[in-house]
């Protein structure tokens, strides 16, 4: 803990998540590495089945069996947490890593009042008396914008609307002042106007508490509004990672380029949207080489069939890093020119 300031808050190194099935082992997340600095918001975006939610679940130790971490390390503030025994992990979960899930109705217990659920979390992790915990719960509810918190604390989850429930879940995630929050599709189940409220709230609270956030979503708009950096996932790998503005305005990986063109946006006057033909491969049929190669339009620009034979790792590309051989080609060309 001597140079704690230099260590990123969360480091994920070569993480691989596998599912053993009757037909063999499926690799859902394949050798991904990233880190999150303290107070930073990392967006993780991708289509369904890209492995983004599994990555989040692995970090917080909530991978559903038979899914398992087959390889790699997860370090929180320099301490390895992926191999901790259950009880140890339980202390970290909630205390140091909070979680916000997509559906606020299923992440709250319908049989307990919300006050009981929040005070329970506070008492488990912090050394407070019941009365102090209740006061803190009311403070938290006020902070997330629930009106008349001292009355609402005795209400059950079904008495809240969807947006209000998600606010309760956020207050639960913040209850023990964690350093990192995993937010898995926190606004997907909500209407646009409520979504805007929740995004603003998450941004505000994380700035005030200096909490880092791993924001998992399929909505690029939410990422653009919230995140500092973004990782684009495709078929269990990170296709591109970099600062949000760079990835949105000058994407480097052909998949990210296609994805950005495919998102309709208000005020654009395109007659047609850019379209990536085909669909993401199933886990049982991931192509060799780069998993994107059957859909890629630039495959001819890389010599020696490299895309279909050899798997690219993240390479520096523009101001981001992209897992695409094109960038090693351009790097080679540049070298040739300068030589």
């Amino acid at each position: 803990m001597t140079n704690a300031s230099n260590i990123p808050l969360l480091q994920v190194k070569n993480l691989r998540i596998e599912f053993p099935t009757r037909r063999g082992i499926l690799t859902a997340v394949d050798d991904i590495s990233f880190d999150i600095a303290a107070g930073e918001v990392l967006g993780v975006v991708g289509e369904s089945g890209a492995g983004k939610s599994l990555t989040g679940a692995a970090v917080i130790g909530l991978l559903e069996p038979p899914g398992r971490i087959a390889k790699g390390e997860i370090l929180l503030a320099g301490r390895r947490i992926d191999n901790l025994p259950f009880e140890e992990l339980r202390k970290i979960r909630g205390r140091e890593i909070g979680a916000i899930f997509q559906d606020p109705l299923t992440s709250l217990n319908p049989l307990y009042t919300i006050g009981r659920q929040i005070t329970e979390t506070i008492e488990t992790h912090l050394d407070l008396t019941h009365a102090q915990a209740t006061t803190r719960a009311i403070e938290l509810l006020n902070e997330v914008g629930i009106p008349a918190a001292e009355k609402r604390i005795d209400h059950y989850p079904h008495q809240f609307s969807g947006g209000m429930r998600q606010r309760v879940v956020i207050s639960l995630a913040l209850a023990a002042n964690p350093k990192l929050i995993i937010a898995d599709e926190p606004t997907t189940a909500l209407d646009v106007s409520i979504q805007a409220q929740i995004i603003t709230l998450i941004k505000k609270l994380c700035r005030e508490h200096h909490t880092a956030v791993m924001l998992v979503t399929h909505d690029m708009g939410v990422i653009a509004e919230t995140a500092d950096r973004v990782a684009v996932m495709y078929a269990g790998r990170i296709a591109e990672i970099g600062p949000v503005a760079e990835v949105i305005h000058s994407p480097q990986h052909p998949y990210t380029i296609g994805l950005m063109g495919a998102i309709p946006s208000v005020g654009d006057n395109h007659e047609r949207l850019a379209q990536i033909d085909g669909a993401m491969p199933r886990l049982t049929a991931i192509p060799s080489g780069c998993a994107f190669n059957p859909r890629c339009t630039r495959i001819k620009d890389v010599p020696n069939n490299r895309c279909t034979t050899e798997r690219p790792d993240l390479l520096p590309a523009g101001k981001t890093r992209a897992a695409c051989w094109l960038h090693s080609v351009s790097a080679m060309n540049k070298q040739a020119v300068t030589a």
Partner: protein, 340 residues
């Protein structure tokens, strides 16, 4: 007067009420009255041939109910729906059968809208057989082959079952089925909300191509404003069972008039990070069982005054053929901003 007018569908003051009361005995014991949910409460609009009208709004605003009313899946509690000049409620059984051939529906969930026990060929051919458009097997097969090719699938796919396809491919099958009776009018209820963005782009492009090719007219229901701005000619914004604003797509996003439309517009996450000015979003949609008196939006509206709390605003025309239901706009308390 021209017999074939430009208006294909006319919806006049349509309402749909659902009885959501508890059983009789509970009502007697708990001394409760019947509870009526007004899902759609007096909605009027027209759709011209070849255009796409989109209805947007938050969950529970009645947009899907309108789609189902138009398709005849619900009967309206009040008002009338005219398709190509014929009032659906007054038409005889034969006439309705003839009309029904001319409009079809695409549903949101491609996993629930295809029969899992039927082969794709049989699913797509169903409207052909029901409407007796093609009866002999060779003709049916020829038409199904053509439809599958049109939506970007292979004719060989008709031997497969729906579970063998991905979400986007299933939505293509739904579109092929909807197109099989050569309809003029398609009602699309959130056709892309269950799909990933790259697949959504494929389906939206396909829908636009088909519209150009066959001169289709769409009623498009969605909660995604970006999708709506991409696909539609005109947009109607709904709030608690009422239309609050109808205008051209460009106009409604560049220059929204109704305070609710303004709020929705500024709530859209900004992909281009232009740091646009936002109208702060406050409050939530009230309970539709007990909607506020007067304008249903007044508890959340920054411009509300006494008249809004007592009198319900009706759609009034303003410049450019747009319509807005707002007392503040009508009384010029909010200046109508001129489009730049």
């Amino acid at each position: 007067m021209n017999i074939k007018s430009n208006v294909l569908l006319e919806v006049i003051d349509v309402a749909k009420e659902f009885d959501v009361s508890k059983p009789w005995l509970n009502r007697v014991i708990e001394r409760q009255d019947r509870q009526i949910l007004k899902a759609v409460d007096g909605v009027s609009f027209t759709i011209n041939r070849g255009e796409t009208l989109s209805l947007v709004g938050e969950s529970g605003c009645g947009k899907s109910t309108v789609a189902r009313l138009v398709c005849g899946l619900y009967t309206p509690s009040r008002g009338s729906i005219k398709f190509d000049g014929v009032n659906m409620a007054d038409a005889g059984a034969d006439e309705v059968q003839q009309l029904r051939k001319r409009f079809q529906m695409i549903f949101q969930d491609p996993f629930a809208s295809l029969n899992p026990r039927w082969r794709v060929g049989k699913i797509i051919a169903e409207p052909l057989r029901v409407h007796k458009i093609a009866t002999d097997d060779a003709d049916v097969k020829k038409r199904v082959d053509k439809l599958l090719t049109q939506v970007g699938l292979s004719p060989l796919d008709q031997e497969k079952f729906p579970h063998e396809f991905s979400g986007g491919q299933r939505q293509r099958i739904s579109i092929a089925r909807a197109l099989s009776s050569n309809p003029e009018f398609l009602v699309c209820d959130e056709p892309t909300s269950a799909l990933d963005v790259s697949v959504q782009a494929q389906i939206l492009n396909l829908m636009k191509d088909l519209q150009r090719e066959f001169g289709l007219t769409y009623l498009f229901i969605s909660h995604n404003l970006a999708v709506v701005s991409h696909i539609s000619t005109r947009v109607g914004v709904m709030y608690l069972g009422r239309l609050v604003e109808v205008a051209d797509t460009k106009r409604i996003f560049a220059n929204p008039q109704h305070p609710y439309t303004q709020m929705l517009q500024s709530a859209i996450p900004d992909l281009h990070m232009t740091g646009k000015q936002r109208t702060p979003v406050a409050g939530e949609v009230p309970n539709p069982l007990n909607p506020p008196a007067g304008c249903a939006f007044h508890p959340r509206c920054p411009h509300a005054y006494a008249r809004c709390k007592s009198e319900r605003p009706n759609l009034i025309d303003y410049a450019d053929g747009g319509q807005v239901a707002c007392h503040a706009v009508e009384d010029k308390r909010i200046n109508i901003r001129v489009a730049a």
